[in-house]
């Protein structure tokens, strides 16, 4: 389900790196400021991160079947081309081990008002739901792992669904490789509740000021299955309102509803009742900061509705509740410490052998430090302790280090 490398993306990445290279050579070191070309009309930024961590036999940290978030190399180039003061084209091209080169984001941004109170973005756009997706970059994440809502692979797939509750329960705790009888029969990883590794395609409007702002987006995919093309004839509407009452605090409320199940499932089971194919989510996020402290928290309630097919049927929506609390404190100008507590809880489902949560509840505690070697060059290390009440591996304590640089 991950996008395949495209020749055009490779060409753009090569061109941008070539264009930026004279500046890099002249400077004889990695720049700390974005590279400005064409009189400032074209801005180029970049980041490279190398993450090395323990083996993860429980697949707690995987973002797809092949890639662990604590064992990967990643490089990205972001550029912003300003056609006029009110029209800009933004794109981010990312190269990553196991994935290749992908156009992570590409969209046009239009500011119709001189006041800057309204922005319209169209293309492969950043998600409006929640807070973490827009700060999932290694340099914005104080730790190495991601909150589980945005990374942990559940046993739900869009292109394959369980025929019975027993099918679903048999996949508890093994979202890294899921196989169901309806739809695509090839085993594949399940989805995260909210995808942070891939962005959706559509149109987004943001209106507001520094104190209060709102954003609304209509996109082709869904929270957990962002897409470039549409695979189910539906779409998703998502929105977020952010309130910034004082500089120290921002509170956001998000909601999303979109068609999730792909057409191939309907084609496989034409008898499936209509309307049982969407994903709905509600999120609350907050960030407070003072002095050398930043504290962030987020809560996401999510529900997938899958078609009730065979007995024992999956009648009710598959719901989950997840939340995390994260704190970061700067100890010295170059040194900070951070910790994140994180849990996901799933509702019960009645199967032939009794009831159980439809997916195994999972929790994580991650703590670590970051050391700034110089501006734009950061070393991080963290410990990730994971617990799960199902699956082959139920407890796993992992360590990871990460070196990243950006400009």
């Amino acid at each position: 389900m991950r996008p395949r490398p495209r020749p055009i993306a490779v060409a753009i990445l090569t061109t941008v790196l070539w264009a930026a290279s004279p500046r890099l050579v002249r400077a004889q070191h990695w720049p700390t400021e974005p590279v400005a070309l064409a009189g400032g009309r074209l801005l180029v930024g970049g980041d490279v991160s190398a993450t090395f961590g323990s083996e993860d036999p429980g697949w707690f940290t995987y973002t797809d079947y092949e890639t662990s978030a604590i064992r990967r190399l990643r490089a990205g180039v972001t550029f912003e081309a300003r056609a006029t003061d009110r029209v800009a084209f933004l794109a981010e091209i990312r190269a990553e081990t196991g994935v290749g080169v992908t156009p992570y984001a590409w969209y046009v941004r239009i500011g119709p008002l001189a006041s800057g109170l309204v922005d319209i973005q169209a293309g492969r756009i950043p998600p409006v739901f929640g807070a973490f997706t827009r700060r999932a970059y290694p340099q914005d994440n104080p730790l190495i792992g991601s909150p589980q809502t945005y990374q942990y692979l559940t046993s739900v797939r869009a292109d394959a669904v369980p025929a019975t509750a027993d099918d679903l329960l048999s996949m508890r705790g093994r979202g890294w490789l899921v196989q169901y009888p309806v739809g695509d029969a090839v085993p594949h990883n399940g989805v995260a509740t909210v995808a942070a590794e891939q962005w959706d395609t559509g149109v987004q409007v943001r209106v507001g000021s520094q104190v209060l702002s709102g954003a609304l987006a209509y996109t082709a995919g869904s929270l957990s299955q962002p897409r470039v093309g549409n695979d189910n004839g539906g779409g998703q509407i998502a929105g977020r309102v952010a309130w910034h009452p004082v500089p120290a605090l921002v509170v956001g409320v998000s909601a999303a509803r979109g068609v999730f199940v792909a057409d191939n499932v309907r084609e496989a089971r034409p008898d499936a009742p209509a309307g049982h194919d969407d994903q709905r989510a509600l999120g609350i996020d907050a960030e407070a900061s003072w002095g050398r402290w930043i504290v962030r928290g987020e809560y996401v309630a999510n529900a997938w509705r899958l078609p009730p097919l065979d007995t024992p049927r999956i009648v009710d929506p598959l719901t989950s509740q997840a939340g995390y609390l994260e704190a970061k404190v700067r100890l010295l100008p170059r040194l900070y410490a951070a910790v994140r507590g994180d849990t996901m809880r799933f509702t019960s489902l009645q199967g032939s052998a009794g009831d159980d949560t439809w997916e195994a509840n999972v929790s994580r505690l991650e703590y670590g430090i970051g050391f700034t070697i110089r501006r734009g060059l950061l070393f991080k290390t963290s410990v990730l302790s994971n617990w799960r009440d199902g699956g082959r591996v139920r407890e796993s304590h992992l360590g990871a280090v990460q070196l990243l640089c950006w400009f």
């Binding site: 933004l90 922005d119 170059r334």
Partner: protein, 230 residues
């Protein structure tokens, strides 16, 4: 014949803020010498762009556009005359945070000066520096509040905001008083310079861009030394 001492500040300032090595040399000088003044202009012809935030595709809207802040040059003597290091204890200076810009963009001070960093924006700022000359982190604070740092070593200090990546400023800390920051017309003036031959350096945006040898005669004349930076 009186005797005077000249202190040589070797590599007083480099772009990376090298520490200062001071060597005292003895020499002869006429007793009735008058101090001179070095004046001139610095004509900056390099194209300057707005200090940009990192381009981010993750924003839900555009960041407000900002004008190019005034970026003056600093002209100073690399060899400081005798008495230059007898500085009064501690002065006070201020670097404001306004409209997400440090004002002034360049601050030139002497060793022992305490700099205040008031926040006059509606948003939080987090002033910090990782420079070898002075490393500090003032944490986040809001409008109307101010924190201060005392600079005890000569060199260049690059100042940033941890929240707004486009905010950047320089503090040049001198071990002597023979320096001047150019005004908006590019003009500068360094007064009270004892007779002698000096190396005059011009610094702009993180680097020493040019140097020149100037001689202040015993008559205390005004020396014109203008620079063009391309």
């Amino acid at each position: 014949m009186t005797r005077r001492f000249t202190a040589l500040a070797l590599r007083a300032l480099t772009a990376r803020g090298a520490s200062v090595l001071v060597i005292a040399l003895a020499g002869d000088a006429p007793g009735a010498a008058a101090d001179g003044t070095i004046t001139g202009t610095v004509d900056v012809r390099r194209s300057l762009l707005v200090t940009e935030s990192r381009p981010s595709s993750a924003g839900l809207g555009a960041a407000p556009r900002r004008p190019i802040e005034f970026r003056p040059a600093v002209v100073y003597l690399e060899k400081a005359p005798g008495g230059a290091f007898e500085l009064p204890e501690g002065g006070r200076a201020s670097m404001d945070q306004r409209d997400q810009v440090f004002v002034p963009h360049v601050l030139a001070i002497t060793v022992g000066t305490t700099v205040d960093f008031p926040n006059n924006d509606l948003t939080f700022h987090n002033v910090f520096s990782l420079s070898k000359t002075k490393s500090f982190d003032l944490g986040r604070y809001s409008r109307g509040k101010s924190k201060s740092v005392r600079f005890d070593r000569p060199g260049v200090v690059q100042v940033f905001c941890d929240i707004h990546s486009h905010m950047r400023a320089y503090i040049l800390v001198f071990a002597h008083r023979y320096f001047a920051v150019t005004d908006r017309a590019g003009a500068y003036s360094i007064g009270g310079v004892p007779p002698g031959t000096y190396t005059l350096a011009v610094w702009h945006e993180g680097e020493v861009r040019d140097t020149r040898t100037v001689t202040v005669s015993d008559a205390g004349a005004t020396i014109d030394a203008s620079f063009v930076i391309r």
